[in-house]
């Protein structure tokens, strides 16, 4: 009953003319950046953060959420037709999707990707509405000790799931935490890490940091890579898969949805990991795995369902615990903070209209996406003809305007330039920026909770082990670290990353 009345409230919010418009704008933009290789949802959300400042918080989040899951749809179009992942999470779709297109089955590939995504979107949206309230209720009982341990656990998970070297991932988290601490200390008023610069007194601006790393650094990185020659498939044909195709891929969609939903909740998870895992799972359970890699429709259905499911469920920890599962969610937290809302379990009780409005908008957005993607696929293909030479100056200009307008502070623009250099070096050194962003968002919260805990326990560290929930989180974190250190698992992990 509760859920129904809540969903009802949500749909009332989400179906308001303004919010439908923002939802549509979000998924439209999301599809566009999904289709275009070289700009991802993180960059786009970062660029739109300052704009969302002028909107009411519901509309802002509906818009930003639409971009994130819209990009999951759009990415598959490029992956199938051009053999380039439009989005990182559709890398896997290129393997079988493009093969299908070469064999003249581009239409069914696109169709099954959209249908799988839509199904996964519906299921995972339901999951969000059922799982979020009890989780939030549980989280309300958390004290500072529990929160600190939960964050440790989350950061460890982000490290485990990051690509490449573990040492580097840990270092990135620590750098992120340290950056998050810059600025005036809340408790003592002492300025830390400001190097006597007035602009840093309020800390490093989140928008400047994320645009520098995700916007500008990526542009610079893309520009120095050599252009890939792409073999395009022009003929698409009917986008409706045959009944046999549907029947054949239904179990894959179901498995992909389930796997994606679980992985989306994990910190460091989200859409990318879900797609990889779903593809691997399909290969394992399939009767004739040899067909994979040669245009198997199941190899399109499962990862596409998984990445969309993962994109939606990653909202659960963000909305209920205030802890981001991936960089895009970190941006959403940034957006909430701009509006003066501190994310956490209280969001649901204090702002039910916003919470349920977002959930309902996800479903509406998914419906819009199917309509946007299937009949209009030709339009998106045309979008691919825009050369990068015209796109990147636009990205740079929007990053500049965005960063400047948050605080009307020139200093932030220079901070962004600094992080562009920093982010570029990270990309060059194969350090993933995602753990850094998560660390940056969690840094101040972690310190605050650590201090409060130690204040209550009078400096006894053992409190983290005597509080039950806190102990569970720490044990989980420790287990993950041990597993990671085990040589067998490490080799497996490297194998999986290479695929």
């Amino acid at each position: 009953m509760d859920i129904l009345s809540n969903l009802n409230l949500g749909f009332q919010v989400a179906l308001g003319v303004q919010n439908v418009a923002y939802c549509f704008l979000g998924v439209l933009l999301g599809t566009a950046v999904g289709v275009l290789p070289g700009i991802g949802p993180v960059t786009t959300v970062a660029m739109l953060l300052p704009i969302s400042f002028t909107l009411p918080p519901e509309s802002a989040l509906i818009l930003l959420a639409g971009i994130y899951y819209g990009a999951q749809y759009g990415g598959s179009t490029t992956a199938i037709l051009v053999n380039i992942p439009g989005e990182a999470s559709s890398v896997v779709t290129t393997i079988d999707g493009h093969k299908m297109a070469v064999m003249g089955r581009a239409g069914p590939a696109l169709g099954i990707a959209a249908i799988g995504s839509f199904f996964a979107g519906c299921v995972s949206t339901l999951l969000v509405s059922f799982a979020a309230p009890p989780l939030a209720a549980l989280a309300l009982q958390f004290g500072p000790a529990e929160y600190f341990s939960l964050m440790v656990c989350g950061l460890v998970a982000a490290i485990v799931l990051a690509h490449g070297s573990v040492t580097k991932a840990v270092a990135m988290v620590l750098i992120g935490l340290t950056l998050g601490l810059a600025g005036t200390d809340i408790n003592s008023g002492i300025r830390r890490f400001t190097f006597d610069m007035r602009g840093l007194a309020d800390g490093v601006e989140f928008v400047a940091l994320s645009m520098g790393i995700y916007g500008l650094a990526e542009v610079a990185y893309n520009l120095q890579k050599k252009e890939q020659a792409a073999d395009r498939v022009q003929k698409i044909g009917s986008v409706w898969p045959s009944l046999a195709d549907l029947k054949f891929s239904t179990p894959s969609i179901l498995r992909g949805t389930a796997l994606g939903s679980i992985l989306g909740v994990l910190p460091g998870g989200g859409a990318l990991l879900a797609a990889f895992a779903a593809y691997t799972l399909e290969k394992k359970v399939a009767k004739r795995p040899r067909h994979f890699g040669q245009g198997d429709i199941r190899g399109v259905a499962a990862p596409e369902a998984a990445n969309n499911a993962g994109a939606q469920t990653s909202f659960i920890p963000m909305l209920t615990l205030g802890i981001p599962a991936n960089p895009t969610m970190a941006m959403m937290i940034g957006a909430l903070m701009i509006h003066g809302i501190s994310p956490g379990p209280t969001v649901m009780t204090e702002r039910p209209a916003m919470f349920w409005g977002i959930v309902a908008s996800m479903w509406i957005g998914n419906l819009m996406l199917v309509v946007l993607n299937l009949p209009l696929v030709g339009l998106w293909v045309r979008l691919l003809r825009i050369p990068y030479q015209y796109l990147f100056p636009a990205i740079v200009v929007f990053c500049c305007i965005g960063t400047y307008t948050v605080n009307r502070n020139l200093f932030d623009v220079y901070v962004m330039a600094f992080f562009a250099v920093f982010g570029y070096l990270c990309l060059k050194l194969e350090c993933e920026p995602a753990p850094l962003i998560l660390g940056f968002v969690l840094g101040p919260m972690m310190e605050e909770n650590l201090r409060r805990t130690l204040l209550m326990s009078r400096g006894e560290f053992s409190i983290f082990l005597t509080e039950k929930i806190s102990l569970i989180f720490l044990v989980v974190a420790a287990i993950m670290l041990v597993i990671l250190a085990a040589p067998v698992v490490r080799r497996k992990r490297e194998e999986a990353m290479r695929e």
């Binding site: 620590l174 542009v219 610079a220 520009l223 400047y404 307008t405 020139l410 220079y414 562009a420």
Partner: protein, 135 residues
Amino acid sequence: MFLVFAGVAVATARGYSLGSVGRMGPGYFPLALGILLAGLGAITVVKSLLVEGPLLEPLNLWPLLAIVASVVLFGLSIERLGLVIAILIVTAVLAISFRSISWLGFIGLAGSLIAFSVIVFAYALQLPLKVWPAL
């Protein structure tokens, strides 16, 4: 080879942040982080010395420099010269440094970016931006 350089650079940077804040109370958490970081930096350096790391491709810094330059120029020009001229400068710097866009393309790109930004950001969203140079 390159990894060694990077490792040393990172390690010194970390050592710096560690030393700059050492006070009790507010410095406690950063200090702990700094120590952990320094340790990791050392591990990275040692590792790269022991293992023959894969050579990284030579850095092509030109795009990065051009982008940073254009951003800094934007920062210098936005308050005094306004949005229109700032965008013009950014696109011009990028277009010249990559020589990938024809004259016609440049005019089209800069024109549409200016039109879009002025209409959407300055008027529709009412963001606090100066559009024209202040006289």
